[in-house]
Symmetry: C2
Subunit: 383 residues, 2 copies
């Protein structure tokens, strides 16, 4: 049963089936949104949202003005990014915007393809997204920690990092021309203290990890330079002629509800999304840390502590993924979990060792509880 | 004022402003959908559609089953494509699916990049979509009519064709291995007689031109081979991790309403979408043909006539664009129209002569009427 006492429709008993903790499908927040179902409801009529165009006076001509305003308002409420004097570009998830950024920052006239690097362990999909159609504009050049070519590069700075939740800055030491793309998918108060208002040239955000509405496929970039914003818009035009207006409308509505609830002081704390979702993450991490300690098979990276300007308190990080390392004697963490019928993503996919695996902390309650049960039975399995 | 007598909110008087007939923004159908606003309404609650996943048992794991079923039902009602024993892949517009098809049909192990060709005049965006990130998998090789390399190729067959509305088949004569992608964006009864149930390996459709819901960014591919469907799905995963579920839900709903209205015989003909929209197209083409004849400056390609298995009558084509050719003495059709403050897309963009230009026939009523007024004043302008 889920947090609010209603039962989710689970067709199979979980205790003998595979648990999928591979993807970071953020269904953990579902019960919160169910409580706010009515406030968040959007109604779309037959003749609404027909046109390709949204705002022809704006750089990103397919961005609905209501979403642009909601994005700025949300960042203002949370205090995690500067939006003043910047351009907002909407994308079909931040995945599309990542590729739009590579396109915008590289050039067909360059003598080499642009090197794209990220410090290991890095998000497992960057490599494939960079390489999927074998572009001559850019190429994947691996771990930023060891990049030392005298060629132009883009460093992707993921903070908090996927898979390990660490707070990060750029690491490349090359004297060549470098550009930075900040992937802030997880820079929200439930996962990390909000240490500062980020203010960089290109910052990517996704609604999927912010609220759990992954099915909407809405991401946005906050971009300083208008020419970069124009090129990113051009890429999205070539790639999909814009972004779903239904999703844009709905995401704008949900952002407005989040902000309204923060700005109406009389509201119950149970209606404050980031407080509620942080409590969920704190609870899960507490349980996981206990189970890991008991099992004596894994270690997990120490969480970081900092002052959070949003919650006005010292806070730990509560990453969206657990990045576990097997202790001596187990060489392949993913395979180890597979014996427990737990599907994880192995360390090598992240440019790290097979001793590591990444596990989603955002699954449904019943899946998480069953995961803990299996962890607590581990000694029995390994003997 | 629009077709149903209500006034659209036009902020500027049209008679001195630029008319944008460049894009094919399909707002002509808006008044029809306004009449069906209540039937087509979708309501999306706060906790709906959270997950990335839709149907993990299906090749296209992000396709909502309700959309898959609605797509099959719509093709069954219209009779324009075979869906039995085929796979449906949903995309963010058919633009994303076109690129997914190129990815699926080409290989990194091939000695040459795959040649992508289309018979001129071809859709102006194919070239840029193929070339945008300078892939080493495929390249744009221009007019299919003159392609004679002994190298593997993909021919895009657009029927009815954009820009000129002609009904087409493949034209390449090369003995090299060729693959076909059918772009059926306009293979709907308001634009063309439905001459047969199309049954090809890869067929692309878009909701934008079918009903005018371009803002939803929903396209679908009907694919015979499961491995091709898998590779297309993989491309969309890398490109945007799926497709907006809000749009998928809404498009499924509108398709269901269209089909319901056809299958309930008691319904008024004014509720039958394709009958209604065909009447709009017939009316516009009649007016345009008269204005062109009067102006004595342009010619327009002769429309084709065939038996339509959907309307059960002989029918002409009523293309979504007018493809106009200037008569002797005018070398640049786009510039000619610009003097009339009419924005068109010049022939060279389509691999054709500058004497041609493409004009959208899908604009709002007030824009179309003003366009006709300017055409009728042409002699005054050209003297």
């Amino acid at each position: 049963s889920s947090a609010n006492g209603t039962k989710s429709p689970t067709t199979l008993p979980l205790n003998n089936s595979f648990l999928n903790l591979d993807q970071g499908d953020p269904t953990v927040f579902e019960s919160f949104w169910r409580e706010l179902n009515d406030e968040c409801t959007v109604v779309i009529k037959g003749s609404d949202l027909l046109s390709y165009l949204s705002d022809t006076g704006n750089v990103c001509w397919f961005l609905l003005p209501e979403l642009r305003d909601a994005v700025k308002r949300l960042h203002n409420v949370v205090g995690n990014a500067v939006t003043e004097k910047k351009h907002i570009v909407v994308g079909t998830g931040s995945t599309q915007l990542f590729q739009a950024a590579l396109f915008a920052l590289s050039s067909p006239d360059s003598p080499h393809p642009m090197n794209v690097v990220a410090a290991a362990p890095y998000y497992s999909e960057y490599k494939d997204e960079v390489e999927v159609v074998l572009s001559r504009l850019y190429k994947w050049s691996g771990d930023a920690n060891v990049f030392d070519k005298d060629e132009a590069y883009i460093e992707v700075v993921t903070s908090p990092n996927n898979p390990d939740g660490t707070l990060r800055g750029p690491v490349v030491k090359s004297r060549a021309e470098g550009k930075l793309v900040y992937d802030f998918a997880y820079y929200w108060p439930q996962y990390t203290p909000i240490t500062h208002k980020a203010d960089h040239d290109i910052m990517l955000f996704t609604f999927s990890k912010c609220t759990g509405h992954a099915g909407s496929r809405i991401g946005w970039a906050i971009v300083k330079d208008i020419e970069v914003a124009e090129k990113m818009t051009r890429y999205i035009q070539m790639s999909s002629i814009g972004v779903s207006k239904e999703s844009q409308t709905r995401v704008a509505k949900i952002m407005q509800v989040i902000c309204d609830n923060y700005q109406n002081f009389g509201y119950a704390e149970s209606k404050l999304f980031f407080q509620h979702s942080k409590r969920l993450m704190v609870k899960r991490w507490k349980k996981l840390n206990e189970a890991i300690k008991q099992s004596d098979v894994f270690t997990v990276a120490k969480s970081q502590r900092a002052y959070c300007h949003f919650t006005k308190e010292l806070s730990e990080t509560y990453p969206a993924f657990a990045w576990l390392k097997c202790k001596e004697g187990i060489e392949d963490c993913e395979s180890y979990f597979r014996k427990l019928k737990i599907i994880t993503r192995g360390g090598e996919r992240f440019g790290a060792d097979a001793k590591y695996a990444r596990l989603s902390m955002l699954c449904k309650d019943e899946v998480f509880d069953e995961f803990l049960t299996r962890l607590s039975n581990i000694k029995w399995v390994s003997n």
